[in-house]
């Protein structure tokens, strides 16, 4: 399988007054054709910045300082801005957490969608409108013809997210990057969106990077999962493997911190401490201060181990099933 996206040793740093903030640090991964990859981590782990880096959306003081991002073989980082614009929104689309921030409140949904179509394809307004209407219908918005003339505030949160998905689908991209798209939604609405996304990704053969802090959602949706901690991918592999037999202590810590992991009423098993400040990360393994398995060797950088489709960065990986 040829990968749609191949990220090699990506590092995105922010040059702040208080020092260099390594938001993404030496991250490598691939996304295969029609593959759904879940990118999980807690706040500040660098999962969103990874998504932004792929699309060239990192603003100063942030900068991609190293690495390659190969999209269908072409390095996006070496691409001139004009060429990048033909890819962004057309071949790679993005869906954000809060659709109210991505939709223009003073333009009707139809105007914004027609604009998106015409930005990449020279088609008539009528045809662009037709395509916009079809896209709205596709994501399950009732009476799409009338809704084209509605403004974002006239939609509910779930419907707005459907509009954002419809816009992402307008050009049938090869890859969609979705950054916490259901986090702000209620359970019953989240379920509807997940249902639609799964159906559409399958129907159009799109690859998907699903960024989320919710392991439950990723478990239900993704084929492969990557766990990020403090700017690094600490573990990656097939969803079933990673969730049933986590190798990295952080992954197993996350899994046992959820309420469902212990019998009702018993104390939960949180990961002790809190994530290190991205400005002053400990040397070596960034997790070692919170890790029960840490020894002296963890002060040195753990190398990425790759075995049987699993990747992890740890000197003392768990072996066998989760505790």
């Amino acid at each position: 399988m040829t990968p749609v996206l191949e990220v090699k040793n990506l590092s995105t740093h922010f040059m702040t007054r208080r020092g260099i903030l390594k938001a993404v640090d030496d991250v490598s991964f691939t996304v295969g054709e029609r593959e759904i990859v879940g990118l999980v981590g807690e706040s500040g782990s660098g999962k969103s910045i990874t998504g932004f880096s792929i699309l060239g959306l990192v603003d100063p003081p942030g900068r991609v300082v190293a690495g390659q991002i190969l999209f269908n073989g072409d390095d996006l980082l070496k691409m001139p801005p004009a060429a990048m614009r033909t890819i962004r929104g057309k071949r790679i689309a993005m869906i954000f957490q809060d659709p109210m921030m991505t939709l223009n409140p003073v333009l009707s949904v139809g105007t914004q969608m027609i604009e998106t179509v015409q930005a990449h394809d020279s088609v008539s307004r009528a045809e662009a409108r037709q395509r916009s209407r079809d896209a709205l219908g596709l994501v399950g918005i009732p009476s799409p013809e009338e809704r084209l003339d509605s403004y974002p505030h006239q939609f509910s949160g779930g419907m707005r997210q459907r509009v954002a998905i419809a816009i992402a689908l307008l050009h049938r991209p090869d890859l969609i990057i979705a950054d916490e798209p259901t986090t702000a939604l209620d359970v019953t609405i989240q379920s509807q969106i997940l249902f639609e996304i799964k159906r559409l990704a399958g129907e159009f053969g799109m690859a998907l990077i699903w960024i989320s802090h919710d392991l439950g959602v990723v478990a239900a949706l993704a084929d492969r999962i990557m766990v990020m901690y403090a700017g690094r991918v600490v573990e990656a592999g097939q969803v079933d493997g990673v969730l049933t037999e986590p190798r990295h202590p952080y992954t197993s810590g996350l899994l046992s911190a959820v309420p469902a992991a212990v019998p009702r009423g018993e104390p939960l098993r949180p990961i002790p401490g809190f994530a290190p400040s991205p400005l002053s990360r400990p040397s070596g393994c960034a997790f070692r201060d919170r890790c029960a398995r840490a020894t002296e060797i963890c002060a040195t950088e753990p190398m990425l181990e790759i075995a049987a489709g699993r990747e992890f960065r740890c000197f003392h990986p768990h072996v066998g099933r989760a505790a």
């Binding site: 209620d186 019953t188 379920s191 997940l194 249902f195 802090h213 439950g216 959602v217 009702r264 104390p267």
Partner: protein, 345 residues
């Protein structure tokens, strides 16, 4: 059972928008405009007994936060009454009223917006005990330090400002502030929703430790069923201003009766299930400005029949301590000739 610590009796809370001048003038010409009213909470009965942890769950706009605020006494009810240890809140006067206010404290979702950014931790936590004479003068620092340590904050941080803390630590400040006036009841409104999983577990453990140590009672408002299932003794499900089901977590999650509860539980993605397909219930949560007639859930309910569109279902007991408001209960009752008892929640 003993007397409830706090009890809502037929509590309603309505929000209406008054007509503006233009609309009043338009009405003089016969436009017939009416005030728009949202029934955020619609005749809800809820009793919380001492030492109990009651979870209040539902989706956005279901009225769970409003009910929490009404019960905590920071928002008046528009109908019905809230009783504190058997006495109606509105009848309380003077010292009694002040004591009730201190005994019911709230902890909110976003600690950053509830902590004054210009105050130091010692003043944030210490202000209320100072005003109410719980700790004075030189004792104050020790008192605040002991509270801070109890909630897992280093006492050396007392002179820092809220922005110097992480989200989890800020939530601990909020908890210490609530504890500072020696409350009996904590109303936690989405108190762990904004926290990462590993930090969320720390705060939930803290809540449970505090419960044992100080004999606290909790009204725990959350949209997160996993959290509620874990820490609550009883779970109350709300939909569009009304209670639709109430039971112990084992009953509610093992044997949900209301179609809405069933959908909520079924659609919650968990790591354990690793369910690969979704069977969402259709439709949106209706606007509380124009709630559907009869059972509020009927437009989305896969099992709705004619009666659901006309008649509001009342809460009926399905099993001991398990009540739900669904007309299908009567169908089931007729089939099994089970007598339905008076609702008691």
């Amino acid at each position: 059972m003993s007397m409830p610590l706090i009890e809502a009796v037929d509590v309603s809370r309505r929000f209406s928008r008054k007509l503006d001048y233009a609309e009043k003038i338009a009405n003089l010409f016969g436009a017939g405009l009416e005030e728009k009213t949202v029934h955020a909470v619609d005749e809800v009965n809820l009793a919380v007994y001492p030492g109990e942890v009651v979870g209040l769950v539902g989706e956005s706009g279901c009225g769970k936060s409003t009910l929490g605020r009404v019960m905590a006494g920071i928002m008046p009810a528009s109908g019905g009454e809230v009783r504190w240890q058997g006495k109606p809140l509105i009848s309380l006067q003077g010292a009694e009223k002040r004591n009730m206010r201190l005994s019911a404290q709230m902890i909110f979702q976003d600690p950053m917006s509830t902590l004054n950014p210009r105050k130091r931790v010692i003043d944030l936590i210490g202000e209320a005990p100072k005003v109410h004479g719980i700790a004075k003068g030189r004792q104050m620092r020790d008192y605040v330090a002991s509270l801070a340590e109890r909630v897992g904050l280093d006492a050396s941080y007392l002179d820092r400002y809220p922005h110097q803390f992480s989200g989890g630590q800020r939530q601990r400040i909020g908890i210490a502030r609530a504890l500072a006036v020696k409350p009996k009841l904590l109303v936690c409104d989405e108190s762990v929703a904004a926290l990462d999983v590993s930090i969320q577990a720390q705060i939930l453990n803290l809540f449970m430790d505090l419960k044992r140590e100080f004999g606290l009672t909790y009204l725990f408002i959350s949209h997160d069923l996993g959290v509620v299932k874990h820490i609550c003794d009883r779970v109350v499900v709300m939909y569009l201003g009304r209670v639709v089901e109430s039971a112990t977590p084992d009953e509610l999650f093992g044997n949900p009766k209301h179609p809405y509860t069933q959908a909520l539980i079924r659609e919650l993605p968990t790591v354990a299930d690793r369910r690969r397909t979704f069977t969402p219930i259709k439709g949106e949560i209706p606007s509380p400005l124009h709630p559907p007639t009869g059972c509020h859930f009927h437009p989305r309910c896969p099992k709705a029949f004619d009666r659901c569109r006309i008649e509001r279902p009342v809460l009926k007991e399905n099993a001991a301590g398990h009540v739900s408001a669904c007309h299908r209960n009567d169908l089931a009752a007729n089939e099994t000739t089970n007598a339905t008892a008076e609702p008691a929640i």
